[in-house]
C-alpha cells in the first residue's frame, strides 16, 4: 500500500509540474506578452519598459522557475485588470464554485445510483429502458441550452425559481441540475454494470441461499462492492464539473471561479487565466490521487497489482 501510494504520489507531482509548464506557456501563445500588455499604439520605448518591469527580457526558463516558486509560496501573480492579488481573488471565488460542484454532484448521484441499481435488478424492464433513455438523452443535450430551457420553464413560465445570483439556496437549484445532469449517464451506466456483475457472483448466491432478506443482500452485500468504482468516477467527474462550470456560471451569473475565468478571458487578463487553469488542474490532480488512494484502501486487489 505504501509503495503504491508513494509511486502514485510521484506521478501526481510530475503531472502537476507538466501542467504548470503548460499553463505558464499560455503567456507566450499570443506572441510577445510585453506588446500585448503595453496595449495598442504603444511606442517601442513603452514596450521595452514593460518588458523590463515585468521581467520579460529574462530567459524564459528563469521566468518560469520564478513563477513556479511564487506559485508554490501562494503568490499567483498580479491581475492585469483587477489591480489586485490573483490568489486572493481566486480563493474568494472558489467556495461558490465548490458549493455548486458539490450540489451538482449530489443531484447526479441521487438521480443516477438508484436508477442504476433498479436497472440492474431488472434488466430490460421498463425502468431499465427509462434509465437508458435518460442516459442517451442526457448525453446529447447541450448544457447551455438545457440551462436556458430550465430558466424558461422554472423562472419565466412557472415563476418558481430566481434566474441569476447567489442570494439563497434557491439560486443553486437550476445551476446544479444543469451542471449535474451531464454526469448522470456515466454514473448510471457504471452503477448498472457494477451491480449486474456483483449480483451474478457466487457470494451473492450464497447470501441468498443463507436466507438473508433480499434488501440486506442488495444493499449490504451487493451495492457496497458495486459502488467502489463509482466513488472514483464521482471524484473525477467532480473535477470535470469544476472546469465545466464556466458555461453554467456564465448563464446564471454565479460569482464563482468559472465566471471569473470567463471575465478574465474576455479582458485578456493573462495572470488570472494562468492561475485559474493551474488551480483547477492541481485540484483535479489532488482529487484523482485521493480517489485512487480510497480505491486502493477499499479494494485490496488494486494495491497488489
Amino acid at each position: 500500500m505504501l509503495i503504491y501510494a508513494v509511486k502514485r504520489f510521484g506521478i501526481a507531482i510530475l503531472v502537476a509540474l507538466t501542467v504548470s509548464v503548460l499553463s505558464f506557456s499560455m503567456m507566450y501563445l499570443s506572441g510577445d506578452p510585453a506588446i500585448a500588455l503595453a496595449g495598442e499604439g504603444a511606442s517601442q520605448e513603452d514596450i521595452e519598459n514593460v518588458r523590463r518591469v515585468y521581467g520579460f527580457n529574462r530567459p524564459i526558463i528563469f521566468q518560469y522557475v520564478d513563477w513556479l516558486l511564487n506559485a508554490l509560496g501562494g503568490d499567483l501573480g498580479h491581475s492585469n485588470y483587477l489591480k489586485s492579488d490573483v490568489a486572493s481573488v481566486i480563493f474568494e471565488r472558489l467556495p461558490t464554485t465548490m458549493i455548486l460542484g458539490a450540489c451538482a454532484l449530489g443531484f447526479a448521484l441521487v438521480l443516477s445510483i438508484p436508477l442504476g441499481v433498479l436497472a440492474a435488478i431488472r434488466p430490460n424492464s421498463l425502468i431499465d429502458r427509462i434509465a437508458l433513455t435518460i442516459a442517451v438523452v442526457g448525453q446529447a443535450m447541450p448544457s447551455f441550452w438545457f440551462a436556458l430551457t430550465l430558466i424558461l420553464w422554472f423562472s419565466i413560465t412557472w415563476r418558481l425559481l430566481p434566474i441569476t445570483g447567489t442570494g439563497s439556496w434557491l439560486n443553486f437549484i437550476m445551476p446544479s441540475i444543469a451542471l449535474g445532469y451531464y454526469v448522470t449517464p456515466a454514473v448510471m451506466r457504471l452503477t448498472r454494470a457494477g451491480m449486474m456483475e456483483v449480483l451474478s457472483s457466487d457470494y451473492i448466491r450464497t447470501a441468498r441461499a443463507k436466507g438473508l432478506r433480499p434488501m440486506t443482500v442488495l444493499f449490504k452485500h451487493a451495492l457496497r462492492n458495486a459502488i467502489i468504482p463509482v466513488v472514483s468516477l464521482a471524484a473525477v467527474q467532480f473535477g470535470f464539473m469544476l472546469g465545466g462550470s464556466i458555461v453554467i456560471e456564465t448563464i446564471f451569473a454565479i460569482n464563482g471561479l468559472g465566471f471569473l475565468a470567463w471575465e478574465s478571458i474576455l479582458r485578456a487578463d493573462l495572470p488570472m487565466m494562468q492561475a485559474i487553469v493551474l488551480v483547477l488542474s492541481v485540484f483535479y490532480i489532488v482529487l484523482t490521487f485521493l480517489a485512487d488512494m480510497l480505491n486502493a484502501f477499499l479494494d485490496p486487489r488494486i494495491r497488489v497489482s
Binding site: T18, V136, F144, W145, I151, L152, G243, I246, V247, I285
Partner: protein, 306 residues
C-alpha cells in the same frame, strides 16, 4: 421406422440450408435495431440539409432585412407568420431556416475535422502504448493523465481567445484537446488483441512492426475506433456550440447553432422559439450521432451489449 428417418433427415438438411447467411443475419440486426435506424435517418437528413443548403434554403444566410425582423415561425398563431419564412426570422431579419441549414454545415465540418485530428493523435498514442507496453505505455499514460487534468473547456476558451478565433482555429484547438478518450480506449483494445495467436504468428513469421500494427492490430480494433469516433464527433460538436455560445468560437455573421442561441439569448423571454429551434437541431444531431455509435457497437459486436 425407416420412413421416419428418411423424412427427418431431409428436414434437418433443409433447415441447415434455410439457415440465413451471415450477411442476412447482419442485415436483420441492422434493420431490427431501432436506435441505429433512427440515428441513420436523422443524420442522413442533417447531412442532406448541410450538403444542399444553398439549393434548398429559401434565402441567404447573411441577408439582413431589418423591416422583417423577429417574424415568428409558421406554427405560431400570429398575423406576422408567413410561409416565406417557415421558421421565422432572427433579430436582424435573417431567415432562420436558411441559417439553420447553413449552421448544419459548420457543426458537421467542425465535428468531423476535430474528430479526425483527435483520432489520429489519440489512436497513435493508444496503439503504441498498448502494443509496446512498458516504458512507452508509462509515457503515454503520463501524457493522458496530464491532458485529463487540464479543464478542456477552459483551456479551449483561453487558447482561442489568445490566438484569435476562426473556424480553422476552433477545429485545431478542439482536435488537439479531445484525443484522450481515443488514446484510453485504443490502448486497452490493443492490449486485448496484441497477445492473440495471429499477432504472435505474424511476429514469428518476421513481419515488420508497422505491418503488424496496420494489418494485424488495426483491423481488429476498428470496431471500437468507429464507436469512439462517433462519441468524439458528438463531443466536438457540443464543445464548438459551447465555445460559440460564449462568444469565442465561430464568429458572427457565420450561422453556427451555438452562436444562434447566444444571439437569441436576450430575446428568449419574449420569443422562446429563437433558442428552441437551433437547440433542438443541436440536440437532434448529437443524439443521432450517439445512437449511430451505440448501434454500430451493438451490430458489430453484439456480445458486448449489456
Amino acid at each position: 421406422m425407416s420412413d421416419a428417418v428418411s423424412t427427418e433427415r431431409p428436414a434437418a438438411v433443409a433447415a441447415e440450408i434455410l439457415e440465413p447467411s451471415p450477411g442476412v443475419l447482419m442485415r436483420r440486426r441492422i434493420f431490427g435495431h431501432t436506435g441505429f435506424m433512427i440515428g441513420v435517418v436523422v443524420l442522413a437528413a442533417i447531412f442532406f440539409m448541410a450538403i444542399f443548403a444553398p439549393l434548398i434554403s429559401p434565402g441567404d444566410p447573411y441577408d439582413q432585412v431589418l423591416s422583417r425582423k423577429l417574424i415568428p415561425p409558421i406554427w405560431h398563431e400570429s398575423a406576422k407568420a408567413t410561409w416565406e419564412h417557415p421558421l421565422g426570422t432572427d433579430l436582424l431579419g435573417r431567415d432562420y431556416l436558411t441559417r439553420l441549414f447553413h449552421g448544419a454545415r459548420i457543426s458537421l465540418l467542425i465535428g468531423f475535422a476535430a474528430m479526425l485530428i483527435s483520432g489520429v493523435i489519440g489512436t497513435t498514442l493508444g496503439v503504441l502504448a498498448g502494443y509496446f507496453g512498458g516504458r512507452v505505455d508509462m509515457v503515454v499514460n503520463f501524457i493522458i493523465t496530464t491532458r485529463l487534468s487540464m479543464p478542456a473547456v477552459l483551456v479551449a476558451l483561453a487558447v482561442v481567445s489568445l490566438v484569435g478565433s476562426s473556424l480553422t482555429m476552433v477545429i485545431w484547438v478542439l482536435g488537439l484537446l479531445i484525443w484522450d478518450r481515443f488514446a484510453v480506449v485504443m490502448r486497452s483494445a490493443t492490449q486485448q488483441v496484441r497477445n492473440l495467436d495471429f499477432v504472435t504468428s505474424a511476429q514469428a513469421v518476421g513481419c515488420s512492426t508497422p505491418r503488424i500494427l496496420f494489418f494485424e492490430i488495426m483491423p481488429n480494433i476498428a470496431n471500437s475506433l468507429i464507436v469512439i469516433a462517433t462519441i468524439e464527433m458528438a463531443h466536438a460538436i457540443l464543445l464548438e456550440a459551447a465555445l460559440s455560445f460564449l462568444g469565442l468560437g465561430v464568429q458572427p455573421p457565420e450561422p453556427s447553432w451555438g452562436l444562434m442561441i447566444a444571439e437569441a439569448k436576450g430575446m428568449m423571454f419574449f420569443d422562446a422559439w429563437l433558442i428552441a429551434i437551433p437547440g433542438t437541431a443541436l440536440f437532434a444531431l448529437v443524439l443521432a450521432i450517439n445512437l449511430l455509435g451505440d448501434g454500430i457497437r451493438d451490430v458489430t459486436a453484439p456480445e458486448n451489449r449489456n
